[in-house]
């Protein structure tokens, strides 16, 4: 069962004596030691968020294992001291649930809190999905088509950090959910997609894709750090090239919403038990060094230097085979040295006998 945590500034928190930013709602059974790890995920960047709700899919390490966290942080007026407040609502997936629970379905179908009133309390029920169903695909219509989401996923798997610039009219929550769906199932929690977050925060929480909402006239390069690949979708009327070869499509996200459990009241844990769960077999080409991606907004096409993920992945795949070969060569070497030692010993013995 996934857990829920609501963190905001309140007079009293769940823990006796707590006030200010603290947990006011928590599913019973969630270890309290996880709270300090969740605290940095509750931050709201006022400059990047611009007063809108921001969403994130991240993974954290707790107790030596990976946990998944889907967050939504929203400005929440002023708190009891008269200062600006924010409310963070996290849905936390346990390590055993990471394969069966789809973060995109949580983002799309979960009823996140916008405000919190009343006294802090524990929850005894599991998180409930809202009945309303969201269509995240249509969000790409104003950004050159849904081919871009697969392309972004492809880039994220090939390079280290991506900044996706979207126009103000695009819904950030839908963009994040849609990009997550384009990622391979086993990478959806690990890659991490966040909205309106600084590059430092992304590094701190091992997030590779950050989505920033910017006006078309703003200079996107100001917000990007060296080493980040910028995908500017504010001026993209056309779909990307080679989208048909993208990782996202090979990973085959569910074709209809019910596969992700959108229509159910509670989370559907059997969502990803279809045959598409197996990783697609990708044809291996010779290894290539990753190269930077440049998107020319004037020509609105991806330049020739983009990264071919199908060439990049085999490097990782081949590693176990090399590791497996190592013990064999080790024993071979031991054998050679053993024979060499035996021959030397025999010769030495002969010499000693002859000398005597």
């Amino acid at each position: 069962m996934p857990f829920e945590v609501v963190n905001t500034s309140a007079v009293r928190g769940l823990t006796f004596g707590n006030s200010g930013y603290c947990d006011v709602l928590r599913t019973r059974g969630l270890p309290e030691e996880i709270t300090p790890i969740l605290s940095p995920l509750s931050c709201y960047n006022e400059m990047l968020g611009q007063g809108r709700a921001i969403c994130a899919v991240r993974s954290i390490r707790f107790g030596g294992r990976m946990w998944g966290v889907v967050s939504r942080v929203v400005p929440n007026g002023n708190d009891y001291t008269g200062r600006q407040n924010r409310l963070a609502h996290h849905v936390i997936a346990q390590p055993s649930e990471l394969e069966s629970l789809c973060p995109a379905s949580i983002l799309s179908g979960f009823a996140f809190h916008d405000s919190f009133t009343g006294s802090p309390h524990y929850l005894d029920r599991e998180p409930v999905m809202s009945v309303s169903e969201r269509n995240d695909e249509s969000v790409w219509d104003c950004m050159g088509g849904s081919g871009w989401r697969a392309h972004i996923a492809e880039l994220a798997l090939a390079t280290s950090r991506i900044v996706v610039l979207i126009p103000p009219e695009a819904d950030g929550r839908s963009v994040v959910a849609s990009i997550v769906l384009a990622l391979p199932i086993d990478q959806r929690w690990a890659v991490g997609v966040v909205e309106a977050t600084s590059a430092e925060q992304c590094w701190a929480h091992n997030v590779r894709i950050r989505v920033l909402t910017m006006a078309p006239r703003d200079d996107g390069s100001e917000r990007a750090f060296p080493g980040e690949v910028v995908v500017d979708l504010r001026h993209q009327p056309n779909p990307p090239k080679r989208a048909d070869r993208s990782i996202g499509e090979l990973a085959a996200p569910p074709s209809d919403a019910s596969e992700c459990g959108h229509t159910d009241q509670a989370f559907d844990f059997s969502a990803f038990t279809t045959p598409i769960q197996d990783k697609p077999q990708i044809q291996v080409a010779e290894p290539l060094a990753p190269s930077a991606v440049a998107i020319d907004s004037r020509s609105q096409q991806v330049s020739a230097g983009d990264v071919n993920v199908s060439r990049r992945l085999p490097e990782v795949k081949e590693m176990p085979r090399q590791a497996a070969r190592e013990p064999a060569s080790f024993w071979k070497r031991i054998g050679i040295w053993f024979i060499f030692g035996a021959v030397l010993g025999a010769l030495a013995g002969l010499l000693i006998l002859k000398w005597k």
Binding site: N18, Y21, E32, S42, E46, D79, G82, R83, Q84, A204
Partner: protein, 381 residues
Amino acid sequence: MNSTVSNTLVNQVHCPSCAHIFRPEVICFIAEHDKLQGDRIAGPLEGLRFRSSRFNIDGNAVDMEGRVCTRVACPSCHIEIPRALLENPTCFISIVGAPGSGKSCLLGAASWSLRKLAGQYGCSWVDVEPRLNALLHGYESGLFGAGGAMRTPLKTEVAGGDWYHQIKVGTKLEMLPKPMYFRVARTGGVSSIIVMYDNAGEHFLPVAENAEPPHTRHLGQAQALLFVFDPTMSHASDKAQRQELILIEAVSRIRRLAGVSQSAKLPIPIIIVLSKADLWAQEIRSYITQPPIAPGTIVDLDRQKIEEVSTLSHAYMSEKFPEFVQSVAAFSDRVQWVPCCAMKSSGKASTGQVENQPRANWSEVPFLLAFDQIARSQRRK
């Protein structure tokens, strides 16, 4: 440019972020070349930290790509520190208080006031490196910028955001508060570096998850403690925090971190800053309209006037908050009570809403007083 004046280095440097003590010669330099971006502890967005063996004639390190490096970092936490820490004595001032007591506003108002009034106090007050004080500049702009129109104050985050340095030790992420650096110097005297911290009030609550969170590690090296007490936060109301418990917790942490005996009184001066004086200090208000200036040896502070106001404030506190006064007396004999305000709240007749106007009265006094007492205890001139 070759400098002809030799620089004298201090014997030991205290890292303001992680409290590591090291000798100046083991300091790390920060690589400047684009190819040397990324550090295993400070992160991929920072330049590589390295111990240099190549220097140019000015004493600056030269990185592996031949670029001259002038910025330095702590060899333990790899967080950048100003180079002035290697050359000047440092005064660490910790600011403690309950959530919502007005610590950030006090810092912003004090810094703004000192920029204007430091000359009248017979000293100078400047940023050591403005880049490292960006957070404080934001407070100042929020309080006193944009033609006097004050924004709703931001609440200091408990973790993450712009308030903390984030470093990775192995796979563990550590958050350390961003220190603020100022250089204060008497005209013709030795300059000192004042290091201050703006913590979230939640870090000082006795129920903090971690017994010794890294956010408050600076308490161990504090040379003066500024406790921000909000007299409008009566514990009889629902919205109040018991402030004496926060003081007891802070003192307990100082004792643990600084290795002070649990039964001994604190060896550092405690200054109780009584914030929001415009709302509660009816009889004291007239005293704090003008800055307390009188000739002095280190800073031109009118100590007689401050003592007078302190006595009045103590009397007020003894009447209204005896439990707090009793706790303070148990921890130190060197306590000053300084009322101040960072802004003025007034009701707007037309809308009926409370409006805040920037008005800094005596907000700089606690900091100058702390510096004065530290310098006296170290017999500086």
